[in-house]
Subunit: 177 residues, 2 copies
């Protein structure tokens, strides 16, 4: 597929060998799972589909999703695990045990140097309502919808300082005009 007026250097057509590939999740390390799970569940409405503990290696993984009304998550553990790993757009938080007790401990957000990872982005039905909701929960803003060069785009920070972009799909249609 190619679209009128856009150059996509290097792009190849999708090979049949990649059929069924899907971007399941993005993993971010979190210093304090209690804090991060409270944030992503309360402010972004995510639910923990699966927790995995690795005693020997001293870490835990939490897989979070925004569930749609018609999602039927299996209750039974193995079926739920398989379901979890067949979805798109999950967030995995990795907790290395004990980091939450080290006052000075902090993860790197990828936007300060050295740069790399930039952000995760949530699409929301109503950007203004979302901004008011973030204010209600005293979320830290990087920029509000009316600030900066990119209007109608919000950036907030999660408890570890990772940037979260928030957009409303139909407002983005004006981008690139």
């Amino acid at each position: 597929m190619s679209f009128a007026g856009e150059q996509h250097p290097g792009v190849n057509p999708s090979a049949p060998q990649t059929q069924g590939f899907r971007l399941n999740h993005t993993m971010l390390r979190a210093k304090d799972p209690e804090c991060s799970l409270a944030f992503y569940s309360k402010v972004f409405g995510m639910q923990v589909l699966r927790r995995l503990d690795f005693e020997e290696m001293q870490f835990s993984l939490y897989f979070l999703a925004n569930l749609d009304a018609d999602d039927r998550v299996p209750e039974e553990t193995k079926a739920r695990t398989a379901w979890t790993f067949s979805q798109k757009g999950l967030l995995e938080l990795t907790h290395n045990w004990g980091t939450e007790e080290q006052e000075e401990f902090a993860y790197h957000d990828g936007n300060a140097e050295p740069q790399g990872f930039g952000h995760i982005c949530f699409s929301v039905p109503d950007l203004n309502a979302a901004q008011a909701w973030f204010d209600e929960h005293a979320v830290t803003f990087v920029k509000r919808a009316d600030q900066g060069k990119m209007k109608d785009v919000i950036f907030v920070k999660d408890p570890d300082g990772y940037w979260i972009e928030v957009i409303q799909a139909d407002l983005m249609a004006a981008m690139g005009d």
Copy 2:
């Protein structure tokens, strides 16, 4: 929702104000878009849904997705943009113009110090077939399915060195036993 036998510290029920929130994309900076687009389209079957160029700020954004057979991507630009930003599980690559010409330039993968971002993860229908496919394209492995403590989990590197996990959903069901 809570599941038998799992503790999720800090978790709150999803509030109605978060209905319709979805994890749209993860943004990674890419040194050379031609190289990265070739990689994600060829090896992972992603297609570029939208390219946005910002002349004034000297960067371009590429939004990539794995399309399902029943996805109907609008051809018209504004409709396609709105569609793009309403999906789950996209990858955004940011290209700051000129980095591809700087021999020593490199982005930070988040796994070397300072740590933060860990990886993105693709779910695939057949892990062994995927591993053979990666070999066919001389992809750099961090670990193969039979290496390390986590069996049936592959890690490869993208052209910038970001880690990509590759899993098969039903094989993950044994995790955490």
